[in-house]
Structure formats: C-alpha cells, structure tokens
Amino acid sequence: MTRMTIPIGPQHPMLKEPLSFLLTVEGEQVVDSLLRLGYVHRGIERLCQERSYLQNLYLLERVCGICSHVHTTAYCQGVEALLGLEVPLRGLYLRTLLCELERVHSHLLWLGVLAENMGFTTIFMYAWRDREIALDIMEELSGARVTHAVNVIGGVRVDVDEKQLPSIVERLDELEQKIETFLGVIQHERTFRARAQNVGYLSAEQVCGYCVVGPVARASGVNVDARRDAPYAVYDRVHFDVITNNEGDVWARALVRALEAIESLRICHQLLVGLPDGPTMVRAPRRVPPGEVVSRAEAPRGELIYYIRSDGTDKPGRIKIRTPTLTTLITLPDQLRDVNTADVAVVLAGVDLCIACADR
C-alpha cells in the first residue's frame, strides 16, 4: 500500500499546546511517527540564573499552567534544604493540601481532554464543570484559580480560617461523588471502553526502559510514586494507596487517574482534620550558602525533579528541571505504531501531555 506522510501540528485543534508530528500512514494505519518539540521553549533554566531566588519563584510558577504549585513546591523544598530552614508544620500541611487539590483538578482536566478527543463531549463538559469545585477551593485559599503563588521559600504565604473548613470539607465530599460517577463511566460505558481499551499500550518493560513516571507508569503495573518513595512535605503523615493497574492501555490510565483523584481527596480530608496550629512560614535569608540539592516531588503527571546548585550568592548557579511529560513524550512513537488514525487523538490525550512543562 502507498505510504503517506501527514504533518500534525504545531497548531492543531486536537492539540492543546504546540507540538509537531509527522505521521507516516499506510491507508488508515500509522506505521511511523516523528516528534518535534520546542515550540514553547522559553529558556527558563537559563533565565533562572539571571534572577534571584525570590524572583525565580515567580518564574518557575509559570513553567506550567496546570501543575504550577508542584513546581514551586519542588523548588522551595530544595532551596529550604540548602538554607537548612525548618518549615513550620502548618505551612507544610497547606502546601500538601494545595498539591493534592492540584492533582484532582489536573486529573479532571485530563479526563475532559480525553473525552473530547474521543468525541464524548458530555463527559468533557461534566469533567470541566466539576473541576471548578477544586479550582474554587484553591481560589479561596490562595486568591487565584491557577498560578496560586502560595509557596514561598520558608513555607506558604496563605493561611486558612477555621470558619472556611466546614464548607471546604462539604465540597470535597461533593466532588468525590462526582468523581465516583466518572469512575462508573470509565468502568462500564461501552463506547468509552471500546475507544480506550487496547489503545496506546505500553508494557512494564517499555515503561522501565524509557524511565516513564507517574500515572502512565502505574497504569502499566510499575509501582512508583514519589509521594511514598521519597516522602516530602507531610506525605509521611497521611495514609493513601498508590493505585496501579496492569492493563497498560489508555483505559487503564483513565482508571488509575480517577482512583488517584479519589485518593487525593482522602489525603485532603486527613490534612484538614490534622491541620496543626502555628505559623505558616519562616523568614528566609536572601543569600543561599554554596551547595547542591536534588529535590523530587510527585506532580500530577509523575516524578518532577529539580537540581539546584548554589554558589553562595543570591542567584542560583544552575537550576535543572525535568518534568514528567518529557519521559512520556519519548514513548509516543512506540504507542502510535500500528494504531488506526482515528485513535491517534486518544493516544495523544491518553498520556496527558503538558508541552509547556516539557519545553520549559
């Protein structure tokens, strides 16, 4: 059969962010694909070296619009370790709370994108409507729906009022019910299963070889989670299950993410009940003593790693960021091989791409 090469992107209605693909197809079947990144590369790592530690907080929050809070979490805990700062427990609790709310809203956003790419507009609308509950809570806590600017070096800049708590708990329960509904759709809706099962398969060997992290790895049966494996903030004080599945396809990823969102809500409840009294932050000096630090955190898409080197000035010598999406992008040619062209959109949505994160 004749081969044809179809360019997809960098601008394409299916893609939420710029990314370029060259798909080689034979009839309706994809035989090869070539990936091109860098359309939203902003040189953030280099820019960090020109700015003070405090200014970088502002910059790093903008690496990603969806998981902005976890970026500053990884950065702040790294700088705090270099400074030897002891962050007050209340600050760590609130930091963790925001991390988990962010995971819930990110997973719901992802479910919406996946459903839309499948042509399942109802679930897209419902998922994005219910995601607003998480965003509203975050707005109440921080003053912003996205880019919350909650983390500062030495803690968090916001505090929660005792009076706010009952309303937050109530809405978290409401959100859990909504996610249970989505879980039912993922598990039982025949069309959804038909579109998602046996599509975008990754074996555990492929996941390990490509160093894939996060829900994509867990949906292939690789049990990794930085929250449990390298506990940061107050993850060692809460109980949660790491959700895994052995199917390795887009359906398994949907299931893992929906169950994970419910686990996140469980964590939120524990954090709100156990919220200790006290200050939320300590003052941090401007200059950071010389040293190096490797800071890991579990972003909604998996392990996020920051390497920070200080030369003893008020500006970092080097900040290296590796975002989880970069590890999943490398698997795309493998996932796209032999799929039907109609399933390309599902495969792309299935890995939860965040191109702004990957390009930095």
Binding site: G38, R46, L47, Y210, A230, E292, V293, I305, Y307, R360
Partner: protein, 160 residues
C-alpha cells in the same frame, strides 16, 4: 544497605580509580567518576542492582569544565557525576542501555555542546533547527533581558 553494596561494586569494577562520594540533600549521594566509567557504571547499576530509573541528566558549565550529573533513583537518589573538558566535550551515549536517556542527552547536547558518541538520533530537541550554534547554557552566553528604561518604554506603548 543497597547504596553501600552499589559503591562496593563500583570500586570493584574500577579498582584503579578513586571513587569520591558526597552526600547532598535531599537524601542524594553523588559519586564522581571519570567520563569513560559512566557507561560501565550504569551497566553495573542496571544489571547487578536493577536500578533502571534515570531521572534525568543535568549538564552544567562550572567555568572550568562541563559537568554531567546522571540522576538515578533506587529508592534513594544516586547521582553519577563526571567532568568533560570545555574544548572537546564528548562522552559515550547511554541510550543502548537506557532508551529513556535519548531525550536527556539531546537536550544536554544542544544546550552545552556536548557530543554523545553513538547516539542514534542526535537532532535538536528544544532549540530551533536554524539555531546559530551558540550553546545557551555555556558561560558567556548573553541573555538579553529588557533594561529598566526599556520596560518603561514597552509599558507606555502598551497603554497607548
């Protein structure tokens, strides 16, 4: 402890080299090795200890040399560190052992002009194809930030 066993194994494989280790936060051990030992060391980690997860490769220009840090994870952080000369920075690729290293190496390669010998796909990863050749993360690369005055000008334009 697994870490002690790994370090012992590395000392056995490279008896003629002194292997320096240093602890850094957060729970990370950095092992310094000569460039030619990185691939064999990664092989030891992978084959003997099942350490398959390479979190990333950090490249940095320390002024005197190009330093590469291979951040592995085995329930604890383990970083292999090596230094290359600034004039001729080259090292063997890890892609044969760890396919996931491909993107990390491409990024280090374009940002610091390090050649990864044997890399199957040494195209640019993030920079444009027609990038003029300066390495953005090398010392001496100038970043054009707007000056205070320029910012004011831009602001005025924006308000008109």
């Amino acid at each position: 402890m697994k870490l002690d066993l790994i370090l012992e194994a590395l000392r056995e494989v490279f008896p003629s080299h002194t292997i320096e280790t240093r602890r850094v936060p957060i729970d990370e051990t950095i092992v310094t090795l000569p460039p030619e030992c990185i691939r064999p060391a990664a092989q030891v980690l992978l084959k003997q200890f099942g350490v398959y997860h390479l979190s990333t490769i950090t490249g940095q220009d320390t002024g005197g040399e190009i330093q590469l840090l291979y951040h592995f994870w085995h329930g604890q952080g383990l970083t292999l560190c090596t230094s290359l000369s600034r004039g001729d920075a080259r090292i063997g690729t890890l892609t044969g052992l760890i396919p996931g290293a491909a993107f990390y190496e491409r990024e280090v390669s374009e940002m610091l002009h390090v050649t990864f010998e044997g890399h199957p796909d040494p195209r640019k990863l993030l920079l444009p194809d027609d990038w003029d050749g300066e390495a953005p993360l090398r010392k001496g690369f100038s970043v054009c930030l707007p000056r205070e005055g320029q910012r004011a000008e831009l602001g005025e334009e924006g308000s008109q």
